[in-house]
Every structure is written in C-alpha cells, then in structure tokens.
Symmetry: C2
Subunit: 478 residues, 2 copies
C-alpha cells in the first residue's frame, strides 16, 4: 500500500472483488487483497479442514495422525533411488493380458467421451498392432467396445499426452532401489506428428516400429552394460542446476542421459548403423528424457502411496477431459474435476482456441517435486511459456506453501540452492486455495496435429476438495 498517500481516505477490500469497482466509482482509492475463506467457501469443508489440520498438541488428533503419515510418505519420496534397470522390448512381457487392450493417461474415460487426440492415439495403436487394417476399421472396433481400455497408472506406468501403450510397444523399466518397487513408461517418439498427440499416418507407425526394433534394443543393450542401471535421480538433480525443471524442459537431462548410455552403446555388439541412428534420434530430441523423468517420478511416488491417513498427493493425471489426483492414504480412488486449458505461448499459426484441455500423465513430475514446483530452476522454460524469471522463482516460492517438505537432493540455484518443494498436501491446497502449478505442452484439440505450444496450467481445486472430504470420511469426521 506504499503508493497510497498517508492522509488519503482509502479502502482495503478483502475477498470479493465486485466491491472494488463501486468504491473506485466514488473516486476513492481501494486496495484489493485476493483472499477466500479456507475450504473453497464451503462451510462444511472448512469445518472438516479444521479437524484435519488438527491440534498439534494432541498426538491423537486427526491432524497429528495425518502429519505423522505425511512424514512417512515424504520420507519415502526423499529416500527413493529410481534407476533405469532395463528395457522391456514389448509391453506384453510385463503385462501378459495386453491383447486387445490399450492403456491411456489419466483416470478412466469411455471411448465416447475421449478427446480427439486420445481417440486418434487409440486408432493409431490399433493400426500399429495390426488389429485393424484401416483407420475406419480401427474406429469401428473401438466404437463397438472390442478393445478394452485400462489406465497406465493402474499398472505402475505413466505416459505423456494420450499416454497410449499397446502390447508391442517397448517400455522403460525403472526400479526404486530403496523401496523395491518398479515403474514403467513408454518411449519418446520425438516431436511433430506423433502417436501421443493422436497422429496415425504410415510415417508415424513406421517410426513406432523403428523404436520397437532398433531404438529400444539399443538402449536395452546399453543399460545391460551399465553397472546396476542408470541413476535417474542424479540426472534429475544435476539437470535442476542446468536450467531444466525435468518436466517441460529436459535439455540438460537428455544430454546427461545421452552421455551415460553412449559409451556403453558404442562398446556393445549392436550393429553400428543402429547405434548411430539411436544416438542421433536421442540427440535430436531434447525432451527424450521426459518419459524417464516421469517413470522415475512414478517409481518415487508409488513408494509414497498407501500410507494410511497421509494427505500427500501421489499422482496428478489428465485424460484430456478431467484432471484427477490420487492421495497416499486414499487408495486407488481418483478425485476428478474438469481440466483447465493451459495458458502459454503458441507456435506460429495457432491460438488458444485450438488447444485441447490439459492432457497426460506427465504431472506425475509435479507430485515428485519437479515441473511447476521447480520452476525457479528453469528461466529458459519460463521464457518459452511467456513469463519472467521473477515469475519462475515466484512459482516455486508459492508451491512451498502447499508442499509438506523440501527435497535436499533437488536444489534450486535461484532460491540459493534451497531444496525443491516436495509432497503436495491436500489440506494445504484446500486451506490456502493455492492450486498446484503444472508445466505442460499444449496439444491441438484435433487428433494428430500435435504440440501447438507450451504453457502453465493449475490443477483444479475440485480434485482437492473432494479428496479432503474423503480423507475426513476415512477418519470418521462428518
């Protein structure tokens, strides 16, 4: 309020912005403070929230029980040691029931309600698997319900954008050495017209077969030569010092991963042309590491999942229609709300009206403390999405208000090397109204056009208010 003169009659307006204009119309100065009551303005929810925040002096209060559970869940996060230990050449080696089944990103969504990019990806996967000979045939099969759908997240897997995984696709196999659990993701297909954005031209399918037959076996050979696999946590940590937030920017992480596989790959008995092509493919795709960052985050957050009473968010996933979260203490239930459309910068020729609502499993990175929570690390990304360095730093500072702790292994240079905020607490989100910031690519709303921009989006508050109510119910709070 320093710009107000001391003696001037001034009004401070808290909360409802509509009052501001009426004061201004009377020629008075008014200072608006953005605020809303905890619990999204719902009295019942606010009462439940108060119980769930609890009485710290009473170790048996609901709040204290949740606090202890969150300490356990985030300790597992921070202790995770995700390593790339193998490549499964085909998904059916991991999941033998994959015939006539396709995995997708986010919470369950029937064919009728799927967004066009996800529908296109399903058609493309059916063609790739040769379940259909033409797009029309594939669409008919899918429309008749002859291909089952399941979610990546239910199989300890994650996929960016539509997140489609079919039985013949190769998988990264990431093991969390501390907890012993395993997570999976598909391979990056590069940029442009690709399956995950719903493209299914012959070139797209040919590229997928090259990934299956050359790239995946090459990376498998390199990983096999590395002692105990490739340490993804160290790559994530180093990359945060090198301008990545390891969600929407992975330029450094991809280069570090490349350096960690290239010598082994060159030394392997894999054919030379294949080695050179595999290396050239990775080198040309600065987001190659995204799928690995996602699998590392999934391996980390699956370890933090299932701690009774914990209010830590262990997954944020978007199916192109809804955004859904899972919470450590609330089992496999998804808490869903309609997705927002990202705000950002568009590639030449595209505009906001072309954008699909937020899509993909990649927000698993935010649950593990990367992406929007680590935006201070990535001025170069913020420039790409249309912000300033100060805003980048501001996002990480803001996210610390909804995170349970900080991760000392993931330091943010522009916060004088403070650890990245880690472990989104449902209670803190509902209490402050601060919605988690996600960095994201922007997909065209039509199938197959691909990425049309990059931006920032916030997870809808509805996911968190529903989860809070469920948490209250699980603790017998009416």
């Amino acid at each position: 309020m320093s710009h107000l003169l001391k003696d001037e009659l001034a009004v401070v307006n808290v909360g409802i912005e509509a009052f501001v204009e009426s004061v201004r119309l009377q020629g008075k100065s008014v200072w608006h403070v953005e605020w809303q009551p905890p619990g999204d303005g719902q009295a019942g929810l606010a009462w439940q929230l108060a119980q769930l925040l609890g009485d710290p002096a009473d170790p048996e209060s609901a709040g204290s029980r949740i606090d202890r559970a969150n300490d356990t869940a985030t300790a597992r996060m921070l202790a995770a040691q995700p390593r790339l230990v193998d490549v499964a050449l085909h998904a059916h080696e991991v999941w033998p029931d994959m015939d006539r089944m396709l995995l997708h990103a986010g919470a369950p969504v029937p064919w009728e309600r799927m967004c066009p990019p996800m529908r296109g990806a399903m058609i493309g996967a059916a063609l790739y698997e040769r379940w259909a000979a033409s797009p029309e045939e594939a669409e008919a099969l899918l429309g008749r319900g002859e291909i089952r759908f399941a979610q990546c997240h239910d199989r300890n897997a994650v996929g960016p954008m539509s997140g489609v995984i079919s039985q013949s696709m190769p998988l990264f196999v990431v093991k969390n050495g501390t907890h012993g659990n395993t997570a999976y993701s598909n391979f990056s297909e590069g940029i442009g017209r690709v399956l995950r954005f719903g493209a299914y031209s012959p070139q797209v399918l040919e590229q997928l077969r090259w990934i299956e037959n050359v790239l995946a076996p090459a990376v498998k050979a390199a990983v096999a030569r590395a002692h105990d696999g490739i340490d993804l946590k160290t790559i994530q940590s180093q990359a945060l010092l090198m301008g990545d937030e390891v969600h929407s920017r992975n330029a450094a992480a991809t280069a570090l991963f490349f350096m960690s596989v290239a010598p082994a790959l060159a030394a392997s008995d894999f054919d030379r042309a294949g080695v050179a092509a595999a290396l050239a493919f990775i080198a040309a795709n600065s987001q190659f590491f995204l799928n690995l960052s996602m699998a590392a985050s999934k391996a980390t957050m699956d370890a933090a999942h299932g701690v009774e009473h914990s209010s830590i968010v262990t997954a944020i996933a978007r199916n192109g229609v809804t955004t859904a979260i899972r919470v450590s203490g609330l089992g496999k239930r998804w808490f869903e709300a309609p997705s927002d459309t990202p705000v950002g910068l568009y590639f030449p020729g595209f505009k906001a009206a072309d954008a699909n609502p937020d899509l993909g499993d990649s927000a698993i990175c935010e649950t593990a403390g990367f992406g929007g929570l680590s935006l201070a690390a990535s001025p170069a990304l913020v420039k790409l999405v249309g912000g300033t360095v100060a805003q980048a730093i501001g996002y990480s500072r803001e996210m610390a208000h909804v995170a349970w702790t900080r991760n000392p292994a993931m330091s943010l240079p522009n916060l004088e090397f403070a650890g990245a905020p880690a472990g989104i607490d449902v209670r803190k989100v509902v209490d402050t109204g601060i919605r988690p910031v996600l960095t994201t690519g922007i997909a065209h709303r039509e199938a197959g056009i691909g990425q049309i921009g990059a931006g920032i989006v916030r997870a809808p508050l509805g996911c968190f208010t529903q989860a809070l109510a469920a948490l209250a119910e699980s603790l017998g709070i009416p």
Copy 2:
C-alpha cells in the same frame, strides 16, 4: 543510507578509508563510499584518459576515433562464427618449426622465472617428446636453453594453465567462418595429475600418448563427418542457458559437444573399442569443452584484434608470474603486471598459501564475454567458489560498466535474458577502477599436484593503465 536516522549527525566518507575509523572513534555514524579518482590516482593518466574518452560532439576527437574503432572491433566479435573444423593430429603439421620448441601460456617468461607448475609441464613435454630420458635430463636441457620457448597466443593458439604445447600434441582447429581466421588449442587431459598443472609421471605421459593416438583421431573422424564442422558458438550460447559460463563451468557445453560428435563417431569406421574409450573419456570430464571454448574465444577475439585505435582488450593471459593483456589497436605488445592469487574455495587438505598465482590462457574466455562477464549464468559455479547467486548476478552487472557492448547471441537468463557484456574497454577499466573478473581453477604452487580449488580473480589494474598510456602515445597525446 536508509539505516541512518534522519536527525542523526552523519558523515559520508568518499575515497580514502582511513578517515572512517577516526569518525567512528568519536561515536559518530559514518557511511563509506568506495571511490578513487579515475586514472588510478595518477594525474597524468587521468588527463590522458580524459582525452581518450574525448568529446563525443567532435568526430575528430581521439575519443570519437576510439569509439568508432571499438564499434568495428566489437562488431567483428559479435559476427564471429567459430566452428571446430578439424583436428590436427600433431602440432608440427600446423607449425613445422616446432622441433625443440615448447609453447606456453601468457606473455614471455624465461625458464629461471617460470612458476613450478609451468616448469613441471616443460619437463613433462620434453619427456613426452623423448628429447630427454629422465626428468633430470629434461631439466638440464631446459636450464641450458636448448629448448626454445614461444607463446601460444603468438600462434593463434591458447592453452589452459601452463598451456604447454609440443610438436607431437594434437590440436583442435577452429575456424571463424565470418572473418576466415583460424585458432587452435590443445586437448583437455582430464582432471587430477595432468601435464598442464606440471605433472610428468609415466601415467601422465601414457595418457598424453592415448590422447594423441586414440582420442584425437576419433574426434577428427567425427568432425570429418559433420557438415561444415561443429558450431561452437551455438554450444556456448545454449550452455549459458544451462548453468555454464563456459570458462570454469562447462558441464552443459561438454554434454552438448558430446551429443554433437557421438552419433558421427559411432557411425565412423574407427575401431569400436577406441570409440567407446573416447566417448567415456569425454563423458567423465565436465571441463572437456573448456579448451574448445577457449579456441572459439580466440578465433573470435583474433578477428577483433588489429583495429587501429581500438581500446578493446583482445587477450588476457597469465604465465603464473604476470597477467598480461593485448589490446586491439596496440599490436602484439603485452601489457603486464604481477598476477593476483585467486580467492575461492579449496579442495579438502589445501589452503590459500598453497595456491600458485593466477595461471593460463583461459581468460581469453572473458575477453569474448564469457567467464566472469557471464557469471550471472552460473549459480552452480558461484556455489563452487564460495559465493551467492546475488553475487553472481552482481558480477555480470558490474562487468557491463567496463564492456563496450552486449552480445545478443549470448543471453543471460538471470538478467532477464539480456546479452552478456562483451568487449572490455581499457578506458572504462581505468575510468571506473573496476577490474575485470576472471573465473579460474586454482593450481598448486608446486609442480604436478594439480588443481586444488576454484575461484575468482581480478586482472591487475596495472595492465590497463599501461595500455591506456600506450594508446595515448599512439594517438599523439602526451
């Protein structure tokens, strides 16, 4: 002065700090402003400086002539396009007169006055060339003057630390596509006990032979397959977005360079074990790109050299005894002053008293706008040398006061993507008393122990005052 109470009697002391204490002893508040008169307190120099800064309204004034020359010199800097176009397998291919000759960093220094790390490097080079069979024999040869010395800089070359180059060593060949000039540097030997720090054990010599016989031919093969070489300017520019200042930190630049050679190397008909060993060597040495950054900077600054009347510094080089500069309009003359010892952090077991005075040609990076001038890009480096992110940003802001322009191709994220300061102007250094900041490794003062820390050092003011006097003389200003 905001901490002083308004009504308190206060003293503002400008310049000589000794007065401060006497005011304090009287119980009064005193605010000290660091300032000294332009021209290092020398009246004659201040008068010359005034002439050289000149009258901007008079296009024929000395100042205006220098300004125009500096526009020309820095335009050449900014237009430079340094590319790695080849590897010369042996220095004598480039310079046929290298028998019984050794190049070293910095300005000329006789054997008797060389610092121990440089002496050790000379002994090691004589052993590597088999001019002597033992260190004692090599030392005797050198002591009798039977091996000639020359400077890297006089052959369009640069070398880190002692900068020793002998006839059998391979060279990076960097061509500035805009200006057509060529620059050279030797290969990085990795870290630890290495020749450039004065080590000459059998293992050091064996490593040098491996570089000559395996690494250099492998990189040569990769470069030969790249269309028009490898663009070093783009790597430098990208690396500034990734936490490097491409002098004392090259982690991202090395990874980007690695990605640009590995696919071609893998595809070459070079033997597989050699390819794998070469890649593993580069991947294990995050400063591998330093020598390339230096050669790119040399190719850039040689183009800016030789512009009549220009006061732009085109080289800063340290021989371990003196720091010396060359100035665009002042030919091959070195302006020398005793080197300072860097201030920084030491590896465990070492302390400031162990440090050699500042050493090596690597400050060519600062003349091209990197290193200390781009420190805002590298919070991770500042942490390594014992500073804060705010200080890193502060150094780049300060350096803008002594630079002629900014380089729009080299943007600094933490200055909201402003271009790095570029082209140190001798006049501005003498006018402000702000000495250029150099980032540097710290060598042990004894031969062969190697790097014992990393830090920051400033070039001595004496180099700049001497250059200013010579500039005045060249323009007929008494």
